[in-house]
């Protein structure tokens, strides 16, 4: 399950102290069904804004975003979103948080679904706990379960592991790939972590800032199981790295 996305000529400006600041300029991107696309860029390059436009939480000034041919007009349960902060409701148990998007289902159904996704993220024993009682990594897992529970065809991830410690981050990245394999959602992630991008992505979209434009799109051909220590992995990392820190054109030996 998954849906294809077409982003065409999207422009977006914000008013900052009466001045128009362009954050997104002529963004065009096609994302295939079931693809994992990671958008990399400096903070403030508009990548999160782009994600919010896809989510329907932000409107674009011009251009269109289509999901399976239908234009995005607002938030919908065909899209799920995971934020940098877990954004769980502190007053609801983990279980109730996961059931948040399951309106109109019976209590029993809701429980079945939340049980299923909590076991997927290995939080079954904590379903009655409040978010305040969980660690950062566990809270983010619960947020993943909440986003998956509505079975969204497109999962949007806004720097979801940005606030986690390095080890938890690696653990959750691997789990995310397993989930991807099982649920087959289309996934779009925004990050500034180059290693994360190379580890997860089918394609990496490199964005430049002010205004945010797509600099390049790189297909990552490293197969399904990726070795963070491998030489090919390092070459991809270097290649992406060069977009941000060296202005020269990528040297031919990295041209893979």
């Amino acid at each position: 399950m998954g849906k294809e996305l077409k982003i065409r000529d999207v422009n977006k400006s914000f008013d900052v102290n009466g001045e128009k600041v362009k954050v997104l300029s002529d963004i065009g991107l096609d994302i295939e069904e079931g693809e994992f696309v990671v958008i990399v860029g400096h903070s403030g390059c508009g990548k999160s804004t782009l994600l919010k436009i896809i989510a329907g939480l932000e409107t674009n000034d011009t251009g269109t975003v289509q999901i399976d041919g239908k234009e995005v007009k607002g938030p919908g349960i065909d899209r799920g979103m995971i934020f940098q902060e877990h954004r769980l409701f502190p007053w609801m148990s983990i279980e109730k948080n996961v059931q948040l998007g399951l309106n109109g289902k019976s209590k029993k159904e809701k429980e079945n679904i939340s049980d299923q996704y909590l076991s997927l993220v290995k939080l079954s024993e904590f379903k009655k706990a409040y978010p305040g009682q969980l660690s950062g990594g566990m809270s983010q897992r619960a947020a993943i379960a909440r986003a998956l529970a509505t079975q969204p065809e497109v999962l949007l991830l806004d720097e979801p592991f940005g606030a986690l410690d390095a080890l938890t981050k690696i653990e959750l990245q691997e789990e995310l790939l397993k989930i991807k394999k099982r649920c087959k959602n289309t996934m779009i992630m925004v990050t500034h972590d180059i290693e994360e991008a190379v580890f997860l992505a089918d394609r990496i979209v490199v964005m430049s800032s002010r205004p945010g434009t797509i600099k390049d799109i790189i297909k990552v051909e490293l197969g399904h199981t990726r070795d963070r220590g491998g030489s090919d992995f390092a070459k991809y990392k270097k290649k992406i790295y060069n977009y941000f820190f060296e202005d020269k054109i990528v040297a031919p030996e990295y041209n893979i």
């Binding site: 938030p75 934020f83 954004r87 007053w91 948040l100 998007g101 409040y130 978010p131």
Partner: protein, 259 residues
């Protein structure tokens, strides 16, 4: 073993809490027994306790307090209902907020005691004027804290609500209200304690019954032990009410525990 250390800890916490009251009582006792303070100004504890006992057994203290409490119940209940309702409205709706804000801020500046003369003219010296004073006193802390709680709701959580298509009512019950609840309880607590002040104040100025009236009456008859007994009764009941509302607050916001 573990349980035992926990018990010892509880005892220590309790001692920590009651140490100051005990010290005050000891100081009071020696100040009067040694003759450092004239018993005309500060009666002996034993005299006050004696008075407290006779007042309770004769039922005067009990009926005075019952009258004052029933006034609080009416005025406070009114303040809770209207304060929370309007607070929610003002917190959720900018237009409503701007509409009421100036007027309410202006009214708030007038101390509740200054309301008493005009309320007596409007409502007489009976029940209504007392209930009105209590309402005015308790209403604003409840209103202000409710508005504040609703307004401080994390917009990031509201965004999540939009993501999951919660309708207006669901956004209110699942996000705004629980988010504001701790703050609302702060208002309820403050409102309850100022209710006491308001009712006693109003009863001291114009009333024929109630604990405030009793204190004022005893003062004019120079029965100072009765004044002290009344004050102690107010303090004790105030503490009990504070405990009750803290307990309700904790029961209603279980997620706040251990934070």
């Amino acid at each position: 073993m573990k349980r035992q250390t926990k018990n010892i800890q509880n005892v220590l916490v309790f001692l920590n809490m009651i140490l100051l009251p005990i010290l005050i009582i000891i100081a009071w006792h020696y100040a009067t027994v040694s003759g450092a303070m004239s018993t005309l100004i500060l009666p002996k504890i034993s005299t006050v306790l004696e008075t407290l006992k006779t007042e309770i057994t004769h039922g005067t203290l009990v009926s005075d307090i019952a009258i004052s409490l029933s006034r609080i119940a009416k005025g406070y209940a009114l303040a809770v209902v209207i304060g929370i309702l309007l607070g929610v409205l003002m917190g959720m709706n900018q237009t409503a907020n701007r509409f009421f804000m100036l007027t309410f801020t202006a009214i708030r500046q007038v101390p509740m005691i200054a309301w008493v003369p005009i309320l007596i003219i409007w409502f007489g010296i009976g029940e209504e004027s007392k209930v009105a004073v209590i309402f005015l006193a308790a209403y604003f802390p409840i209103l202000v804290n409710t508005v504040d709680g609703i307004e401080r709701t994390d917009p990031k959580l509201v965004e999540v609500g939009k993501m999951y298509h919660l309708n207006g009512w669901q956004q209110f019950t699942k996000i705004y209200l629980p988010s504001a609840l701790p703050s609302i309880f702060v208002g309820l607590k403050l409102g309850l304690s100022v209710s006491w002040m308001a009712v006693v104040g109003a009863e001291m100025i114009a009333a024929t019954s109630g604990i405030g009236f009793r204190i004022n009456d005893a003062r004019s008859l120079m029965q100072y032990p009765v004044v002290f007994a009344g004050m102690i009764a107010i303090a004790v009941i105030g503490v009990i009410m504070d405990f009750i509302i803290s307990f309700i607050s904790k029961a209603c916001t279980p997620w706040e525990r251990g934070r």
